[in-house]
Symmetry: C2
């Protein structure tokens, strides 16, 4: 990308990751770990193939991504983040948190969706209402893939699913699940809109203790 020509940390950062699609590629690698070209293409609906390959080359040249030849059984290239690339985690976290309000308005007509993208709304809306209780895991299973939300000791963590032993599983379309997490609708209303809950119902109550949005 064309440099801003400013001796400023923010401008220099944008010189490196300001190109279109670049941060979304980093998002994929952060959430999915080492990935094949096709995995990335699949996680980035809408990207043109030439842009993906060009960005990967740029990111490699900038030292954020490294390309490895996979071990024998796979025999294909794997892209993964270098430490410098992983250091973008906090940036993406803050950016995602800032963007969560745009999701509560519902998806635009033709928006693509992946279940793992619920990680940011989950971290934003949920809290561990009972820090002294044993850890619980809630799996959100939407549109073919899933995120696991874990609450332990007052902390909320998310990582790509599926979970080995989830205490509860929510299945259904993205918008009512989001409404349930944010407190905009209750469980009965969510069920009416296609959400199914397996496992302990108490998990939901623990993660959304106030019945509203905490720390808004």
């Amino acid at each position: 990308m064309r440099s801003y020509g400013q001796y400023c940390a923010v401008a220099k950062a944008l010189d490196v990751i300001g190109d279109r699609w670049t941060l979304l590629i980093v998002r994929e690698l952060l959430q999915g770990g080492p990935s094949r070209y096709t995995d990335l293409r699949n996680g980035l609906p809408g990207i043109a193939t030439n842009l993906l390959s060009e960005r990967l080359r740029d990111l490699e040249a900038a030292g954020l991504v490294k390309r490895e030849d996979a071990p024998p059984p796979v025999a294909t290239a794997l892209f993964s983040l270098t430490p410098r690339g992983e250091a973008l985690g906090p940036v993406l976290h803050e950016l995602g948190m800032w963007g969560v309000p745009y999701m509560t308005e519902g998806p635009a007509s033709r928006d693509a969706f992946r279940g793992r993208w619920l990680a940011w709304p989950a971290e934003n809306f949920l809290a561990d209402g009972d820090p002294d209780a044993p850890p619980v895991a809630l799996e959100l299973r939407v549109g073919g893939d899933s995120v696991v939300v874990e609450a332990a000791g007052g902390e909320i963590r998310t990582h790509p699913g599926p979970a080995t032993q989830p205490d509860a599983v929510l299945t259904g379309p993205p918008h009512p699940i989001l409404g349930l997490l944010s407190g905009g609708i209750d469980l009965a209303e969510a069920r009416r809109r296609g959400v199914e809950l397996q496992g302990e119902e108490g998990v939901i109550a623990r993660l959304r203790p106030a019945g509203g949005v905490p720390t808004a």
Copy 2:
């Protein structure tokens, strides 16, 4: 900007602030407070006037910026951030911190510079080495404007200068000042490269206690 068409918090955020120059305009408003058009133009060397006005319109439409008619003595429009715009503070902070390493390599030949841009390197490299001592203020005066770095109770804060009663003032070209802050060069070498120190020399020692880069 063209939407990514993804129902993801990060993608939605980039739909709003992913356009070129947009985050740098927010940077100016965050650091400088309510600003006139010309102030923004001055703080954003390299931007085309049509882009600045177009971005300001977009930002206003998105609810991140509000335009106010200034009080009588000034009689010109002032642009300032809404709460939603100010909520980008943590994003810019993380982005700036991530970009600091690109500044230690020195400015490119034709890079523009403003003293306040030293805020991020200062927050990154400095620490309060003596939390129990009374607060101190260090002013960095570079290229016509300045930042104030305050250390109090173990915390480092920065805000646009000048300071009312600085305990020390560093004046000089950006690169050796940065080298001094980062620990890459010592005070004697910095002086050789055009840096001048007024006030208490001990302030420098307190802010760079280990003589190296803390929490690297």
